[in-house]
Subunit: 281 residues, 2 copies
Amino acid sequence: MNADPREHLTAEERQHWLSVAVRLADVCADAISNTAGQFEVEAKADASLVTSADIAAEEAFREVIAAEFPSHGVLGEEKGLTNPDGDFRWIVDPIDGTAEFARGMPTYGTIIGLWLAGRPLLGVIDHQGLGWRLAGGYGLGLNRNGIPVGCEDQTVGGETVGEVRIGLPSRAGFTRRGDQGHVFDAVNRAYPECRTFHTCFSHSCALVGALDAAVEWAVPIWDLGALEALCEAAGAAYHCVQRAPHPLDPALELYSVVFGRPAIADELAAVVARSLDSGSP
Amino acid sequence: MNADPREHLTAEERQHWLSVAVRLADVCADAISNTAGQFEVEAKADASLVTSADIAAEEAFREVIAAEFPSHGVLGEEKGLTNPDGDFRWIVDPIDGTAEFARGMPTYGTIIGLWLAGRPLLGVIDHQGLGWRLAGGYGLGLNRNGIPVGCEDQTVGGETVGEVRIGLPSRAGFTRRGDQGHVFDAVNRAYPECRTFHTCFSHSCALVGALDAAVEWAVPIWDLGALEALCEAAGAAYHCVQRAPHPLDPALELYSVVFGRPAIADELAAVVARSLDSGSP
């Protein structure tokens, strides 16, 4: 008996589901590009942005699942959870980095994850504006545009290139849903070559080793739909360092995670934990 | 008599020089792509990185100037100043963001500026990895890949999209050549949606309005070869807030500047100035 439900799938089955996820990324990309820059921008209740392109992409995604896999659950940023009891659950953020998208920054992306009985099975992060599509999963490795990659790939002889680089959300990410700006400050002091990137760009850069490790702070699960599966596939560490209810919706949990090259991510997680323990400076 | 030497050129002459600058960007891009990812990385005396691609691109650039415009000065990051008395001076950073380039981040770029009698005439920032080429100059406006753009372009009805976004160098940029980390801290507190980007990516994002404004800190002139001319062309503000000799080379000046959408850049410059006045917290 194996306790990991992912072991119950054959390699062929896992590969099949990854090809479905890639097809769903195409569906989202088409819906987004069909807006051709002509989209409406609105602020949501939590002050984050949504555009008509986000909505169109999530609707197109849900139509495919409803037609082909009606028993599967879907949790999407814009339209909530359907089929909560399905063994398979798709998690989708149709445009992660909506403000980047609306401002013409090429770093936004679509995040798609497939979970099986609560375990992360596979994921796709598709940066249409960069031409980067990361795809991978349990027992499938990680590839970018079909070429195998991993979190050691931008090293020279196994050493990091130049100074250690850490990806972080903006300071607002630490203060918007709590008073944890001191964690942002502590990480910037410990690692002076931090970069402040939006969610999925930080994920992708750490997964291919362009960043050594990264922090994600107080985000809902749809921002993390692909990350844990892709970290496992890339040989990256993944640590959840904090779980807390959302201040506006106690039914929604917020996660803070540290991930990246294992030795550096472990050290970074310790810096974050010390800062959390010490409280606001 | 007009005191601005740029007025002595006709519009056709300025356009001609911009087309030369664009051709030089092609020359650098070809030299970089010819390395096809096979380049050597070394640390320089100031701990910044240089690759064989940087050197190849600057040499190719200098060959064109020497053959076609032998009276022109050239100041390059890798090979210093030639023809210091030339009225025309080209300033080139063949790969700005060498560490990004070496790590496979697509945000690096080539910076080319042409100065006339000490005044910025025109500039090109070419992000080969993003497919973004910004070009513009005095009386020529700014374009990206041939399409006119300006620092108001990512606004909706003249309003910024979502929260104000400021681009900043990493905290190391404020501490490497002095003890000014408190300026980094102050800007992050005043503008919680800061992004930490490398030099030329920050320049380009502010020039097209994807950032509202940005700070560049204690950098040599080759990092700023294109910026002032492009700001003028884009209708952006450009403020030099600090000049100081380089700690390792007193003959080399370091510049700190604030630029972007005029109202926001003016306010940001005031935040920076107050932080400088107050000293380290």
